[in-house]
Symmetry: C2
Subunit: 351 residues, 2 copies
DNA sequence: TCACGTGTTCGAAACGGTTTCGGAGGGAAG
DNA sequence: CTTCCCTCCGAAACCGTTTCGAACACGTGA
């Protein structure tokens, strides 16, 4: 039988059952590898299914089994801040790899939630309509309302990277998220720098808090002084602006640590507009190690973290939460971020 | 009634019906805004639904209505080539924006399909299980098997960017995908360059074919000569290698056009290792205009295209295909890519 | 008063699977 | 030849919604 638009009607389990001369129950058991059917019956059923190109409708399966086979990932960022940052793409890649291995799918939303209420509504919609079995929570903030949201919804969730606020939700990430920053400060101290600055982001983000904490602690440890810690929105323009402000201060830093590579490059460029060259007059450290970093002139000293691995671990952790028997090995320990030393850092200028 | 794990059982339409003292049918009509219920009944139902926090299960709705409310996007690239390229993130952002407006969701898979068969299986799985109502086809190739795949599956699809091969599938993109390359060659010709090269990608990609065609046509138009057209995998390392090979030739180019910005930067860096500085000894043109481009030293001359807009248009086109009445205005014409002139191109060296 | 629309409501049948449970059949043990 | 057990299979219930057709109440015009 054909539909009016000419496309053939999809076969259903009943068609397969009829053609194979068995009941729907037997077909179901056959394709799901359950016991209760003889090997010959199973073969016959599978052969018919293959011939007709039939596979169970995910919709019907989701309805009966109470699981959609998909998890959700809601990104709350404006597009221009997304594309300059390799973080999300790498995270997605890692997540996907682990999910695909287990036959799960990823429901993605890139949102631009102006208000917390709108963000909450997005999660409520996703969970309430039972479209996904669980979600990732990324870029957690201080007093993040999503912790309560997912709990209220009874929605399994995994936090990506160590959250600053205490929560009973499982999280996956390196134990010391500020490790790379510590290394960076140590590196600068050894190069003889005494006055340093840190160009960072909104002060309610968990990762910003951890890195700031690490920066301040390391600075204190090595007897350096902080001459500025401007906040930006992570955009290169903001990075350049912050750099110029730092350089116009009475106490000018001889080295600046940035919260991402793009700001570091923009900052370095802005400094050269003031006649300060990197690394001779100003040392610069980035964060993320984007693929271009080693091809710049000078190549960028930066902090690297294996975000793809992070994504994989998070996905496995979430699958575990969903009751997948063995989502893959190891989601326990992620190595701390490490410093990659290249040409953008050098000895402090002798004033 | 609670489940054994302590989480409250989700209310169903029956619960709402019982509490509101009406039938399931009336509840359904009430929440879907259909006629056939009195205003007072509708209010009562909605009030109860609100109080219990109930919303229809997307699973059950998908089963009865025959539409999942989601579309699929399968990306076939290795992760390291993804994160250096802003293209997919921007495309995703645009797609999401248009989808979210209409209440549709995006199912994403980042695959690493070694074989065409594996790629075909991914689409078959997605369509066969009826998880999505339609898909995007991106990075189409010459003789792309996916055209046949989606037709055989009866899966609505929209091609992202003009395909090289003829197909009856709808596509969305600029009419002249090589427009930016034409401009670039013209720009170089005016600067006095005579020997140029083009570092590009696998020769079966539609966009590579269009750009190559545009490059060759423009070069012929302006009487330049092509001294090399190496193929790469789009990675910075490959870009650097290709550059060195070009520079080691007997006929050395004075300007090189690259198929993306990362290769352009790597190429420029590689050239400086040979003692050739940009733009004095070698002019360099990139493609994509990543956000860092204008912050480099020298800033990168490159080709820009509004990929976010492209994504939005593609999504609207697909929604139209799915029968969404008015997915949003304008998906007809996307402007051609344009050249952004910055510091990495200059007058040809006088030999 | 009766027949007749009109608008509201409800019960029941899909939708396409999974799962439970009881029965049929066959072989081995007594 | 029973009896028992085990395997294989199918009927039926169920998941949570939409939709279809019938029933019902009510006001209206003849």
């Amino acid at each position: 039988m054909d539909r009016d638009d000419g496309r053939a009607r999809r076969p259903t389990i009943s068609d397969i059952a009829a053609l194979a001369g068995v009941s729907k129950a037997s077909v179901s058991k056959s394709v799901n590898g359950q016991s209760g059917v003889s090997e010959s019956t199973r073969r016959r059923v599978l052969e018919v299914a293959e011939r007709l190109g039939w596979r169970p409708s995910a919709r019907a399966v989701a309805l009966t089994r109470g699981g959609s086979g998909a998890v959700g990932f809601l990104i709350n960022r404006s597009p221009d801040l997304l594309s300059s940052d390799p973080y999300f793409v790498d995270l997605l890649s890692g997540i996907e790899r682990a999910l695909t291995e287990q036959g799960y799918w990823l429901l993605l939303q890139i949102g631009h939630h102006a208000t917390e209420e709108s963000e909450r509504a997005a999660y409520a919609d996703l969970a309430g309509s039972q479209r996904v079995d669980g979600v990732f929570l990324t870029e957690t903030r201080l007093g993040d309302p999503r912790f309560d949201t997912v709990r209220a919804l009874g929605l399994p969730a995994v936090v990506v990277s160590k959250p600053w606020a205490r929560t009973d939700l499982p999280w996956v990430g390196s134990a010391n998220p500020g490790g790379g920053i510590e290394d960076a400060v140590l590196h600068l101290a050894r190069l003889g720098h005494r006055k340093v600055a840190y160009v960072t982001g909104p002060q309610d983000r968990s990762h910003v808090l951890y890195r700031t904490e690490a920066f301040l602690a390391a600075v204190a440890d090595h007897g350096l002084s902080v001459v500025g810690m401007p906040r930006t929105d992570f955009s290169p323009d903001a990075g350049a602006r912050a750099t110029l402000e730092l350089l116009d201060q009475r106490e000018r830093p001889s080295a600046i640590v940035y919260d991402n590579d793009v700001m570091a490059v923009a900052g370095s460029q802005a400094a050269s507009g003031r006649g300060l060259s990197t690394p001779h007059d100003l040392s610069v450290v980035g964060h993320d190690d984007i693929s271009m970093s080693r091809w710049l002139t000078p190549a960028l000293t930066t902090v690297r973290q294996d975000v793809i691995e992070l994504g994989q671990m998070c996905a496995r952790r979430l699958l575990l939460e969903l009751g997948v028997p063995d989502p893959g090995d190891g989601w326990q320990s992620l190595p701390d971020p490490t410093l990659v030393v290249r040409g953008s850092t050098g000895p402090a200028p002798t004033s």
